[in-house]
């Protein structure tokens, strides 16, 4: 049962989310709720072609629309040296097209008008002469020598973006050559989109009289966005105030900077009036950062006994027209090198080649810590193939290869130091919850009756919480995070963090962390995020990094408060500080528990009755640079059946056991797991942004890009093991992304398991009913 925020010792308790009352009463304040006096509205004209030269743009008719204030084109921005902007990945991206367009729906002109309707009317009246060019849609075709050159602006005259590799190529190849068993599988993760309920948008409000730019923006990283804006625009950073209001979901989609943001800022600077831009659903899906589009080939070597010997991974990454990946700067393929997963590979090699195509730019880390979903999907799928090849239960194969508890901290062959884990324990719990042995018996009985029933396992390890400053930065800014706590005289606290939640529950969970450290209740601590004028600098919320970084900062800032508070407590207790200790709820005299003072009394004394010479007040700030990442893991089991008539797959059961270390709030963790599993279900069964040969986006809206609802979502059964992170201040690991990372492979492994008696080892997602039906028909299994 959920508990009230007034509960004492709240850490680990299912405290009701403090933010929910305002959200469920429609009292949240999202970007589109904000209306400023004199505000103008912006709309964008977009290219109908995926690849075309722009011969001419005519604006006369558009200017005739009543209420139009200004229209920007690429040529206008060129004069300001703003027609291109840098991407987080070190590439550059057109703000408004100049010369040619490189993807369908690309931004071509920006109209600002007194009403949004007028802006949209004017957009329709902009006339652009295009000369269509051959589009490059397939990333493999993009790499052919005779492929049309997409990025004429680059010195390099081909469509190759980067080559990245890690591990021992030669050693791995030699190992595979000498391994008695080698399995090889091509695994494709198609292009999908985070598709948050609220699309992206902003209001740029430049006041000419003060020189101050207030920028309301749907941002997962408001401080980083302020710094980027200062660097790009030349505005002094202290004169930029970024406000990230309530956010209706981000999932990575709200990390990058988009052309619409730049245009609205330029127009507000020009006109001295607030300019609002908010995407339509189609603009969100078709232009802002997509995810995945990874085309992976993996080989696993093994002994006859099923002990893995080596892993080799070759990958083509389709980034679209611009490499707008939102990865830490030194990681063009994100943390894909977690691809060895939960298994004790002695040697491994992975490489990724990024290529340009005529599609929207990206890719973003959609609810994953930078390409971790791709890596986990790959290894969990190919381990399934290895189990089939060895005719071994997939559970048994995993047990034979798990990294063992005594191997932690475990050095992976691709360079990571895993902090902690007990993979057998987590798997055992999942097997117990699902009743694995009985389930396999039932499966055999049902198969004998002609039913297609499958059980899929995924035992993944994630890498989250970027990250240690020696390795992780974005455009040079180290990826620490921060917390500032102020205790008021009556013992109530306000805490501000550099993170920015989008539904994760920070207003509750971080209050729990701080309250636990200070002997307060969750209700006593107000959490504020998203305002760069008040919050300390931080890198934001994505990649499951908030708890590993900002959460660590919160605990350590609170402990810093306690360091001062103990001096005040000693003064109040009239003993020396050495004779005072913290008992988890209050300061007590050592050996005399009955003599104690709580944080409330100490706080009052901090402003009214201080020891001689002590500085008044009770506040602290902590910038936490984590010593390592955290490595949550999980064991997921899916049970499916297939309708032989229609090819529809029913998920009969799904058990998810997660180990995210210390749990701050089990209800919030369950909520995260439910949401991420539902997304993973969508990825496995429903979602793909496909393109035709001309580069037309075939799923630019919710009619075609399918997001699962409560009706489609299976019933989720969750469980937990707790293996604390040894280095995190409270032992917590990130959890928000685990279900999205770990579940797609469980679903697909289950469907493959249902069909494996007929020789099926691999299926390409999404598993649309017609695709499954085609496989059924190939094997004579249709009704």
């Amino acid at each position: 049962m959920a508990m009230e925020a007034t509960e004492s010792r709240p850490l680990g308790k299912a405290i009701k989310r403090k933010e929910d009352p305002r959200f469920i009463r429609r009292q949240g304040r999202y970007l589109d709720d904000i209306v400023l006096p004199g505000m103008l509205y912006m709309a964008l004209a977009r290219s109908p072609y995926a690849h075309a030269r722009i011969k001419n743009i005519r604006l006369d008719e558009a200017y005739k629309v009543l209420g139009v204030k200004a229209i920007l084109t690429g040529a206008d921005l060129e004069k300001m040296n703003l027609s291109w902007m840098p991407t987080l990945a070190g590439d550059r991206q057109m703000v408004l097209a100049t010369g040619k367009v490189l993807f369908q729906y690309q931004e071509v002109a920006a109209v600002v008008a007194e009403t949004r309707a007028a802006a949209e009317d004017a957009v329709q009246r902009i006339e652009v002469d295009y000369q269509p060019l051959d589009a490059v849609v397939d990333p493999y075709a993009a790499m052919k020598p005779d492929a049309p050159l997409l990025r004429e602006d680059r010195e390099q005259k081909d469509n190759h973006i980067f080559h990245w590799e890690v591990g021992d190529r030669e050693g791995t190849e030699n190992t595979l050559a000498s391994s008695p068993i080698v399995v090889k599988e091509f695994i494709r993760m198609p292009r999908v989109h985070p598709a948050p309920v609220e699309p992206c948008g902003c209001i740029a409000d430049y006041q000419k009289s003060t020189g101050k730019m207030t920028w309301y923006v749907t941002s997962q990283a408001p401080h980083a966005h302020r710094t980027v804006l200062a660097m790009v625009s030349g505005l002094p950073e202290h004169m930029i105030h970024v406000i990230s209001p309530d956010i209706g979901g981000g999932f990575g989609n709200k990390v990058p900077v988009y052309p619409g943001y730049v245009c609205s800022i330029v127009l507000s600077l020009q006109l001295g009036r607030p300019v609002k831009w908010i995407e339509t659903r189609t603009e969100n899906i078709a232009t802002t950062n997509f995810a995945r589009d990874y085309h992976m080939t993996a080989e696993i070597g093994a002994t006859e006994e099923g002990i893995v010997t080596g892993l080799k991974v070759i990958t083509i990454a389709d980034h679209g027209a611009f490499d707008a990946a939102a990865d830490p700067s030194k990681f063009p393929a994100g943390l894909f090198s977690i691809v060895t997963g939960s298994y004790n590979f002695p040697i491994a090699f992975a490489e990724v080649d990024g290529v340009y195509t005529n599609k929207a730019p990206g890719g973003v880390a959609y609810r994953c810590s930078f390409r971790v979903t791709e890596a986990s999907f790959l290894i969990e799928r190919v381990m399934n193939t290895l189990a089939l090849r060895l005719n071994l239960d997939p559970v048994e194969l995993r047990r034979r290869n798990f990294i063992q508890p005594d191997q932690f901290p475990y050095q992976s062959p691709l360079g990571w130091t895993y902090d902690s884990g007990n993979y057998d324990l987590t798997l055992d719990k999942a097997l117990e919850l699902v009743g694995y042995e009985k389930l396999r018996e039932e499966q055999a009985e049902r198969r004998a009756r002609g039913e297609l029933v499958g059980i899929g396992i995924s035992t993944f390890t994630e890498i989250v919480g970027a990250g240690p400053s020696n390795t992780f930065d974005i455009l040079g800014i180290k990826m620490f995070d921060s917390c500032e706590i102020r205790i008021h005289p009556t013992g109530k606290a306000i805490a501000r963090l550099g993170a920015r939640h989008q539904g994760q529950g920070h207003e509750t969970t971080f209050a729990q962390v701080i309250a636990e450290e200070l002997g307060l209740t969750t209700a006593d601590v107000l959490i504020e995020e998203g305002d760069t004028d008040t919050a300390p600098y931080g890198l934001g919320t994505y990649a499951s990094r908030s708890t590993p970084t900002a959460g660590g900062a919160a605990a350590l800032a609170a402990r810093r408060i306690r360091q001062k508070a103990i001096q005040i407590a000693a003064h109040l207790l009239e003993v020396s500080a050495d004779d005072v200790e913290w008992n988890g709820e209050k300061f007590v005299t050592k050996g005399l528990e009955s003599r104690g003072v709580g944080m409330g009394e100490v706080a009052l004394a901090a402003y009214t009755n201080l020891p001689q010479g002590m500085e008044p007040g009770l506040e602290a700030t902590y910038y936490y640079d984590p010593p390592n990442l955290t490595f949550p893991n999980g064991a997921y089991i899916a049970v499916v059946s297939i309708d032989r008539g229609t090819g529809q797959v029913a998920v009969e059961r799904f058990v998810a056991v997660d180990d995210c270390g210390t749990v701050i709030n089990p209800m919030v963790v369950d909520g995260q797991i439910h949401g991420g599993l539902t997304e993973g279900f969508g990825i496995a069964f429903m979602q793909e942004i496909a393109f035709d040969e001309d580069g037309n986006n075939l799923a630019p809206n919710f009619m075609e890009y399918l997001v699962p609802t409560a009706v489609e979502a299976p019933h989720w059964e969750t469980g937990r093991t707790v293996t604390p992170s040894p280095h995190h201040p409270i032992g917590a690991k990130g959890v928000g992304e685990s279900p999205n990372v770990g579940s797609p492979a469980a679903f697909v492994n289950a469907v493959v398991d249902a069909l494996s008696p007929y020789g099926v080892t691999n299926l390409e997602i999404p598993l649309f009913p017609w695709k499954v039906w085609n496989v059924l028909r190939e094997h004579g299994l249709t009704l």
Binding site: E120, M703, E704, L706, T709, V711, F768, W770
Partner: protein, 295 residues
Amino acid sequence: MFPSAFSYVAPNTLDETYELLEQYGDDAKVLAGGQSLLPMMKLRLAAPGMLVDIGQVPHLATQHESPDALRIGALTRHAILDSKQFDRYPLLSQTAPWIADPLVRNRGTMGGSLAHADPAADWGATLLALKASVQLASHERQRLVALHDFFVDVYTTALEPQELLTEIIVPAPLADSLVFGHYFKLERKVGDFAVVGVAVTASLTDDGTVSEAGIGLAAMGSIPLAAKKAAALLIGHRLTPELIKEVAQVAAQEGDPQSDRRGSEEYKRSMVRVYVQRGLAQIHQEWQVANQSIA
């Protein structure tokens, strides 16, 4: 997501409505529930100059059951047919819950859906299976048009610009038979248009002989279709497994589906076969249960 500018008028009577439709002709669009028209306007796929909102016109949202027919007012919301049971027309309440989602069902209307003529819409298939007709009215005339003559092409019907669809007339089943009906819809998620929709209805006499039958198909061509050949095979026969199989195979060949991202032509035909087979088998089973309880 803003429509182009348009004018709006909400007449209070049918006569006023006819006048407006005559006056504005092709530039006018009738607004009923707005569940297709308004999204199309917001996406600027439709840009009528004048919206004629018939929501204020009385008596368009009623249903009258008589011995020979069920007359359904054009403004009857989908949700009404989900909650109200018309015992002699079980296919209606079997179909209604498959339409879109509760929000759309609360606003969308049967007449609006038919006049919009989306080939994948659910009512088209079901009402064709039930051999329904529609009443089209204008100042000039009233005419009754059988539904299979009403649908002309994708989003195109026999309605003239000055005409209003006022009523749907579903003929009553034979009195001496038990009537059954089922709607099957392959959808990719709730609220989706049908990948394939199949409406199956049959009346069975005491000895299990099919006295009347209808099969309707959604998303199997440019208009909603009736699988007439297949349905005709049922008349005068009992529902044996062999007959069911044969009828299902014939039904699968009626229609002209396109291969697309929802499935190949072959897949869609197979879904018709599977659903017709399942529908008739279910009807046979229900008849057996009903017959036993009578006996």
